[in-house]
Symmetry: C2
Subunit: 258 residues, 2 copies
């Protein structure tokens, strides 16, 4: 058997990692990941062959994982969050597709059994932390224009506005990109109130977690970095205060029955 | 301490339940849920006071959970999936908001500490099962027009089409509603190819799981029931076959680098 596990380990906290993810890592001899993700997992990764590739080498990571598995090493390709959401899973299947189409020269990949293990994504950890921000229809948009043309991203921002979806922005900023989140804000302001609640969740569920609730008009790239999840409510999302506790929720329409 | 845990237990399989969710249930003396969800959890619910309310009594369930917690009983309000996504969490905060606005007469709710525990949602289990369908920007739309006017849902379907989002439909059909999924299909067909891959995932990760991959033009309410997740790819999603194994993935744009 040639086995590749493609594993999401949740936002960071160990008690949000699914047992299936832990089991897949335990069964593996070889782990392929951006090293930080493995550090977060602690002892379960001990004694494994670790293949740490830096950020930016995603294609190499996916190739390596497929190659190791094809060599008969039980391998786990690991990322934080849900590995199927803006992470490595799709690249594994894209490579497989390339091979099936004759555009790669790695027929050994076709013998690998692949199992994808989903995980809790940052938007879910963020929404739960402050209440129920994802309580009604929502979308996710990556603001990285390295792989997606900005024109496509902009089209989605307008669609998000027109549809009044709650939206979570992944990759809102990087060292080289800073203007996208401000442009996204300006587009959304064409469709929803200045006072729309916004969550800035940095390092969610990790030791240095910080959570800020602000409003759409005050959203600014200065307050965002590559570890920040930005979620913007829809036009009906509510920011409430109970004593010193703040919550944001998006109603589903029960109010007419209450 | 007056404590209410609002807990999502994932799609069904025990090994996709986060340890934090199990811990919250263990700490509780009282569980409020639609009974089936508790049955799926097995022995962890033994010895607890179970308050099973039928489907449709969501408001009563949220009130009961807040009341029990306010009485000093450590309480867990439980649903499958992510309780923050089309589930009970938002209703708890809506009730709290009503109380804060003076529209309810339950000031004891304001003394309850609330913690929301996120879980893996059906769309994530479905996408992982067949590969990486959520590999690029996506949205979710509930097709239930019991709480949301159909006009709003239709607006979101068009926005989803215009933005070319992968989309997961929750509540695609019920005993009393059958036409919505067919209308959703017809709207999306205005924007994306007939051959767009569609996942029908029924009872995902549970004993009687069934998974079907079809195309957008063949999507029909006859093949969908209230236990079915329907996810529709975007215009670039790919359905590939490797020997007897089928996969669907949505590329992120790495192809120009491959």
């Amino acid at each position: 058997m040639k086995q590749l596990y493609v594993v999401g380990t949740g936002p960071g906290a160990m008690d949000l990692v699914a047992p299936r993810a832990i089991e897949a890592i335990k069964l593996s001899t070889d782990l392929v990941a951006y090293g930080l993700y493995l550090d977060l997992l602690g002892s379960v990764c001990e004694g494994k062959n670790r293949h740490d590739l830096p950020l930016g080498e995603e294609i190499e990571r996916a190739r390596l994982a497929l190659n190791l598995a094809a060599q008969g090493k039980i391998t786990a390709l690991v990322s934080s969050g849900d590995i199927g959401i803006y992470a490595m899973a799709t690249l594994v299947f894209e490579l497989l597709d390339q091979q099936l189409s004759g555009k790669e020269d790695s027929p050994q990949w076709l013998e690998v059994d692949i199992e994808v293990v989903p995980g809790i994504s940052a938007m879910q950890a963020g929404a739960a932390k402050i209440g129920a921000m994802l309580g009604h229809d929502f979308c996710t948009i990556s603001l990285s224009d390295l792989l997606t043309p900005w024109q496509t991203i902009e089209k989605r921002l307008h669609a998000c506005g027109q549809g009044d979806f709650v939206v979570s922005f992944y990759n809102p900023r990087s060292k080289k990109r800073d203007w996208q989140i401000n442009t996204a804000r300006d587009i959304l302001l064409q469709y929803r109130p200045h006072s729309t609640p916004v969550l800035l969740g940095r390092q969610l569920t990790r030791e240095d977690e910080s959570v800020t609730i602000t409003t759409l008009d005050k959203l600014h790239s200065d307050d965002v970095d590559m570890f920040t999840l930005v979620s913007v409510g829809n036009s009906e999302s509510r920011h409430i205060m109970n004593n010193d506790k703040q919550w944001v929720y998006t109603p589903r329409g029960y109010s007419k029955k209450l």
